[in-house]
Subunit: 83 residues, 2 copies
């Protein structure tokens, strides 16, 4: 049994519009930050997860993403092991 701290980073797929990012960029420009481009907004889930081995944990994470955390039509996700 191993314990891992993982970060699941969810973002929009290439080509899917990101209105929140566009509006944050606009607001930053209005505040005087003219030097900002291409703002993207992502969401991360950091969690501790236990399992038989890293492969099993990775499978569980893929299942969690499909069942709850992401919308596969518009989202991509990436998993980082923190420790």
């Amino acid at each position: 049994m191993i314990y891992l701290k993982v970060e699941i980073k969810v973002g929009l797929k290439e080509g899917i519009p990101d209105p929140e990012g566009v509006n944050i960029k606009k607001s930053l420009k209005l505040l005087g930050f003219e030097n900002v481009e291409n703002v993207e907004v992502k969401k991360s889930y950091v969690m501790e997860i236990s399992g038989k081995d890293e492969k099993k944990i990775r499978e569980d994470i893929d299942m969690m993403c499909k069942k709850l955390l992401i919308n596969p039509v518009i989202h991509d996700y990436k998993v980082d092991m923190i420790k």
Copy 2:
């Protein structure tokens, strides 16, 4: 003038309740993922930013966070340079 891609990662300060994380943990357990603990939700802003040097860019980012991106009462943030 340099260009940097940065990620500003915003999370809740230590001790601030994270109801979204708590509910995601509950939902994952209901879906059968009993092996998950301590779910935290974070938000990231990935952006391209230009400036005189890294120090100036870092100052701009701190100012952006204070003025728009975070609520200093409840949020902490961390800046990673992606390239």
